[in-house]
Amino acid sequence: MSGEWPTDVVEALEKVRGGAESVLRHATEDLGAGGHCGFRHLSPASPPVVIEDGAASENCFYIGDVHGDFLALHTLLVEASRSDPEAEIVFLGDLTDRGPHSFECLALILSAAKERPGTITWIAGNHDLGITCNPDNGEYKADTQPSEFIDWLNGGAADPAIRALAGEFMMKLPPLLPRALLKADGLLVTHGGFPLVDLHASLDGINALYDDVCLTDFTWTRLSRHKKKLPNRVHRGCSFGHTDLGAFCETVSGFFPVRRMLRGHDHVQGGMAFHETYQTHPTLTLNGFGFDPVNGYAEGAAYREHLLLGRHREDSLPLVIHVPSGIRPIPSGPAPATSRPTTEP
């Protein structure tokens, strides 16, 4: 990205790096002891598809895909906590890959969950899941591309013991994350979408949504502007249309009353998209990261002036707050010294 980071973000990055090992060890021990690492709605105590009861507070904030963008995650967490340090935060998944600071983002979200326990929900994204390790050679693999975090786990500049700790943790925690959250006012919050039409006949109760194929669809499916789509089970990222969403809502209305949907997964220009064809069940796609959605993170490439934070609104799609990223343009002329770290830890 072009421009200098704000000083407080640079300091936060250094602080997170300094405390990462300790935070990760604490979280690993907590998870091993059956704890929740401070996260809300973590299974096995909670089901993988959560239905909340009681009115949702407007002090609930939503952060879309982060993808290793420390500046974005830090800025949005600070903004969400500004008025109320106990505000509820729901992260829509995809913490790692694409950006340069996957490990620091992991350490940051673990620190935040530890500091404000029971207030952060992390919905599983496809980049969070599917990390495995070959026991013969200790090499990590992911079932998503790109997978820069896996490259880091396998050979990053950090202490091998820390990389091993991070790898173990990311194999254990994400499978316990919820795949979908239904707020009491009917807002479905998920990473990708919902179980596609070929599964609807089998959706006879909430337990049916816990089936592996349904959980995969919550995480992996993509939005199309066309009205309906045929599921193609050759791959996991099948698309859906607005009539498919309507059909899903009607099918599950008796036990899973969805009225609108907030999701991430698809990377959209400007970081958010209200989809105009989704009128009966309004849908918002929200991205947290600030780099270019098509070309991804690159040194010297443009970065968004504003990052996007969702805020819950009762009986409506979330309000999208534009939070200044604080990036300062680098003055032209001789190459300036930058306080922004440019290498992996």
């Binding site: 591309q145 066309h226 050759v234």
Partner: protein, 231 residues
């Protein structure tokens, strides 16, 4: 496996009213390529043009001759990696009468695409005639379910600028396909493509293609659903 290449086969209705579309493709092919160039992914192009001079058998052309080059040749010459060659071939298209969109689409689906696990396979259709009002609609529409299965089996992403119609809407339902629906051809209009911003249209297609991924496996499929290997 990371994407190694993108294969794009253009399926172009070469009927008389398509001249502005062909001109738009010539001028703005670069807009489609730009996002893929930024990702340093090599692109190969193929071409299927179609028209129906007389009778049921369409005249289908590729970069290396007629449709028989797909079924009876070694596949060499069906793709080019040179945009200039594609533009040259676009410029050589001689508009004729009528079209058979689905038969031409099936020819494109039989192209020797690169390995499915590392190739983003794309077919991009351009026509101003609804399937229902084109040449031989009833017999062609009977093949629609098989065509849809074949698109899925081959892992092809279907793009296009076509008229909104039942047949094309069903093709738009195929996973991974993205159509821009345009006004259908009518006699009181010179062309449905007169008002289309081709730079934007092809640019959006290029962005969408560059954001997609190669698929994992190919399923069995039947070649030449229309019997065109014997035409």
């Amino acid at each position: 496996m990371p994407t190694a290449q993108v294969d794009i086969v253009f399926v172009i209705d070469a009927s008389y009213s398509m001249a502005p579309c062909i001109e738009g493709l010539c001028k703005h092919l670069g807009s489609m390529l730009a996002p893929m160039r930024q990702m340093n992914v090599p692109v190969r192009f193929g071409l299927v043009t179609h028209q129906v001079p007389s009778g049921p058998v369409p005249k289908i052309a590729t970069l290396s001759g007629n449709h028989r080059s797909i079924y009876h040749g070694d596949g060499n010459g069906l793709f080019t990696d040179r945009p200039a060659t594609m533009i040259e071939h676009f410029g050589r298209i001689e508009p004729g009468s009528d079209e058979r969109n689905l038969a031409a689409l099936d020819c494109a689906l039989d192209f020797p695409f690169g390995p499915i696990e590392s190739t983003i396979r794309v077919v991009a259709m351009f026509s101003d005639e609804a399937i229902e009002t084109g040449s031989h609609p009833d017999s062609d529409l009977q093949h629609l379910p098989e065509l849809i299965s074949k698109i899925q089996a081959r892992g092809v992403r279907l793009y296009g600028a076509v008229p909104e119609s039942t047949g094309f809407e069903r093709l738009a339902e195929v996973d991974g396909s993205e159509f821009e629906f345009i006004d259908a051809y009518s006699a009181d209009r010179n062309s449905s493509f007169d008002q289309i911003d081709f730079g934007n249209l092809l640019g959006q297609m290029g962005k969408s293609i560059s954001a997609s991924k190669a698929q994992g496996s190919e399923r069995p499929y039947k070649r030449a659903l229309f019997g065109q290997d014997n035409w």
